[in-house]
Amino acid sequence: MRKSIYTTVSLLALVVPSVAYANDPIKIGVLVALEGAFAAGGADGVRNVELAIQERGGMAGGRPIEIVVAPTDTTPDNAVRQARKLVEQDGVDIVIGPLSGSEGIAIRDYAKTVPETTIINGISGALETTFVDPAENFFRFNLDGAQWGQGLGTYVFEEKGWQRIAAVSADYSFGYTNFLGFAVDFCRAGGDIVERFWVPLGSSDFGGVIASLPDDVDAIYLGLGGTDAINFLNQYDQAGADTNLIGGTIMADATVLSSRGRAKEALVGTPTSGAFAPDNPDAAWQAYLASYRAAFAEGDRFDVPSLFGVGYYVATLAALQGLDMVEGDLSDGQSALMNALSTMTLETPLGVVELNENRQATGTVFVTEVVEGEDGNLASVFRARADGVTQTLGMSMEDFRAMGLPSRTTPDCDALAGR
C-alpha cells in the first residue's frame, strides 16, 4: 500500500511539471546599464521592456511573462557577471541586453558558453559583435554603428551639394565604425574626404585641431559625442569658424541638444543620421510614441524615448513575437525559438527588420537635421530615410571583408569612388 502511494506521488511529481508547463511563466532577463554615463538611457530601456510586455497583456505564446532586471555599469566584465547571474541563479529563459558596444562583444563571447539560452541584443552597436565570429544564440534587431552612418553620405552629397569634406572624429572603436558607415556612403556617391583627424576620447581643448582644418572644404564631419562634442562646438564658435557641419550619430543626440549654454547653437542646420527620427511621420512610430507617452507619467519618462529605450523596445518585441510563433515552446535547447527569430519579419516602430546569416538586423536609417524650435530649444527633424541597410552596407560579404575592419585609414575613399 505504502509503496503504491510512493509510486503515485513520485509519478505525479514527474508529471505535474509538464502539466503546469503551459501556464508556467517565461522569465526574461533584462541586462541593462543602470550606473554610469548611460544610466538615464538604461532606465528608459527598462521602461520600454515593460511597455512592450504590457501592450501584449503580459502574455506571449500563451504563457505569462516575468522580467528580472540585472544592472550593469557598462563595463564588459560586469556585464558578463550579471548575465551569468541571470542565467545561472535567476534561471531566465531569454536575456535581453546589453546596452553598450564593449559589453556587446563580451556578451557575444559569453553567449557561446550558454548555447541553450537565447540572447537578444539591447542596443549595443559594435560592428564586431555580429560580424567577427558571431554566436549562434545571439540576435541583434538593431543596426550597428556603421549602418547608422548610411544614408547621410548620399544625403549631404546630393541634397546639400557638399563634395569635399574633412573629418574630426573620436579615436576609438565607435568613432571609426560610425565614420566608416558615413564614409562608404559618401565616397560611393562621389565625394572626397581630404583629411581625417582622430582626437583622443576626453580631449577638452581643440583649438589646434580647429586651426588645422583645411579652408577649401564644403563641410566638416564631426564624429564626437557628449562633452567632447560640446567643447568642440564651443571652441569652434569662439574661433569664428563657420564651415558647414555634418554630425555623426552621437553628435546631435539628447546629451548635446539638452546641454545648457550657447555651444550647441553651432549645430543648427547640421545633418546627422541614426536609428530614429523623433518626428518620423510613419504611423507605426507615431502609435509607439503615443503608447509610450500614455504608459508613463510625464516626470517619469522622456518626451521622446531615447535611443536606448527604442532599442530595448524592439528587442522585446522580437522576443514576444518569437514566443508567439513557437507557442511558448522552449524545449530542445530553445531551437524552435531561435529558428523563429532568425527567419521572422519583425514590424517595429522603426520599420521592418529582418536578420541576415550573422543574425544581424537589416533595417532603416533616418537622416535628420538639427533645427531651432519655437521655444529656442534645438530639435532633430526628419529629412530622409534609407531602407534595407544591410550589415555589409550594400556590398557583398567578401567585398566588405576585403575593405577591412574600421580603423583610422579604413575605408579608402578613392578606391570606393573609383578614382
Binding site: S203, G207, G208, N231, N234, Q235, A239, T255
Partner: protein, 337 residues
C-alpha cells in the same frame, strides 16, 4: 635667478637658446621650406596660443592649490570640487543677470566663503594630521560632487561669452601669406586672449602681494616656519583663513573660465584636480612662479601633442611629470626642506 645662472651656466644657456628659438618661431614669418617640414604656421601658432591659454586656466586652479599647500601643508583634494562649484555658480549668475563679468566677484566671494567654512570647521579641527586631512578632503569632494549632481544634473553647461568678447580677434602676429601674397595675421578667440591677460595680471598681483606687502611677508614667514610665526604673536589662524579663502575663490573663478572655453559637467572636478596636481608637482609644491611655469608647460604639451601626435598626447603630460620626479623631485622651482 642670478645665482642659478652662476651655478649652472650650461643649463642657463640651453634654456635661453630654447626660448629664443621658440620666440623666433612664433614671430618670424615661415619660409615655404619650413612649412614643408613643420606644417602650416597657423596651426603651430594656434596650438601654442591654445597651450598658453589652457596654461592660464591651469594656473588659476593650481595657484590656490599650491598656496594652500605651501602655507598649511594641507593637500586639499576637494580643490577640484571648488572649481566645479564655482563654474556652476558662475553659470547661474551670468544666466540670471546676463552679465559675465559680474559672475567673477560673486563667485569669488561665494566659493571663498565655502573655503572659509572648510578651513574653520574642518581643517582647523585636525591641524597637523596631514593624512587625516587628506582623507577628509577626499570624502568632502565625493559629497560635494553628489550634491552638485543633485542640483545641476548630469548634463553639460557652457557659460555664454559676452558679445564684446565673442568671435575671434586679430593679433599682430604673422600667421602666413594668402594666395594673393598678402600677409595674414593670426585670428584667435578674443575671450581666450582676455582670460590670458587676466591670468597674467592675477599672477603678477599675487607675486607682488606675496613679496612686497605685509600680508605677503606673514604668509612667506608662515611657509618657512609656522611655529615661530605663531610664537611671535601673529594670529596665524587669520592668515590661514585668508589664504584658504583666496585659494578657494581663485578655484571658483577658474571654474567660470573653464565653463566659458570648455564645458562643465560631473567629472570635471577630478579632471582639474589631477591637472592641478600635475602642475604643482612639475612646478614645485608651494611656489607661485613654479605653478605658472608648470601650468604653461602642461598646457603647451597637451595642445602641441594633440596637434602633432594625437595618439600620444595623453602620455606627454605624464612623461613630463615622470621626468621632473626622476631628476628634480622637488619640482622645477620647489625647494628642498
Amino acid at each position: 635667478m642670478q645665482e642659478f645662472f652662476q651655478k649652472r651656466p650650461i643649463w642657463s644657456g640651453i634654456i635661453i637658446l630654447v626660448l629664443a628659438v621658440f620666440i623666433w618661431l612664433v614671430l618670424a614669418p615661415w619660409s615655404p621650406e619650413m612649412e614643408a617640414v613643420l606644417g602650416r604656421k597657423r596651426v603651430f601658432l594656434n596650438a601654442v596660443f591654445g597651450g598658453v591659454t589652457l596654461g592660464a586656466l591651469y594656473f588659476l586652479v593650481a595657484a590656490g592649490f599650491t598656496l594652500i599647500f605651501g602655507l598649511m601643508r594641507n593637500v586639499n583634494l576637494a580643490h577640484g570640487s571648488l572649481y566645479l562649484l564655482g563654474g556652476y555658480l558662475g553659470f547661474e549668475v551670468s544666466e540670471r543677470t546676463g552679465s559675465w563679468l559680474l559672475a567673477f566677484p560673486v563667485v569669488f566671494v561665494l566659493v571663498g566663503l565655502v573655503g572659509i567654512v572648510l578651513q574653520n570647521q574642518v581643517f582647523r579641527r585636525m591641524e597637523g594630521e596631514e593624512l587625516r586631512q587628506t582623507m577628509v578632503t577626499i570624502g568632502i569632494s565625493v559629497v560635494l560632487a553628489d550634491l552638485m549632481l543633485w542640483s545641476w544634473g548630469g548634463q553639460s553647461y557652457t557659460i555664454m561669452t559676452p558679445d564684446w568678447l565673442s568671435g575671434p580677434a586679430e593679433l599682430p602676429i604673422v600667421a602666413g601669406t594668402n594666395r594673393d601674397g598678402d600677409t595674414v595675421y593670426l585670428r584667435y578667440p578674443a575671450v581666450r586672449i582676455a582670460i590670458l591677460i587676466a591670468a597674467i595680471v592675477i599672477g603678477v598681483l599675487m607675486w607682488l602681494i606675496l613679496n612686497k606687502s605685509r600680508l605677503g611677508m606673514l604668509i612667506r614667514a608662515g611657509v618657512d616656519d609656522r611655529d615661530m610665526l605663531a610664537a611671535s604673536g601673529i594670529r596665524i589662524q587669520w592668515v590661514f583663513l585668508a589664504v584658504f579663502a583666496f585659494g578657494a575663490g581663485l578655484a571658483g573663478i577658474a571654474g567660470i573660465v573653464g565653463g566659458t572655453f570648455q564645458s562643465l559637467s560631473p567629472g570635471e572636478d577630478t579632471r582639474f584636480l589631477l591637472a592641478s596636481l600635475v602642475v604643482v608637482i612639475v612646478g614645485g609644491m608651494g611656489s607661485i612662479p613654479g605653478a605658472a611655469i608648470g601650468a604653461v608647460l602642461i598646457g603647451l604639451s597637451e595642445q602641441l601633442g594633440l596637434v602633432y601626435a594625437p595618439t600620444y598626447s595623453v602620455v606627454v603630460t605624464f612623461l613630463i611629470m615622470v621626468a621632473v620626479l626622476a631628476f628634480r623631485p622637488q619640482g622645477l622651482l620647489g625647494r628642498t626642506r
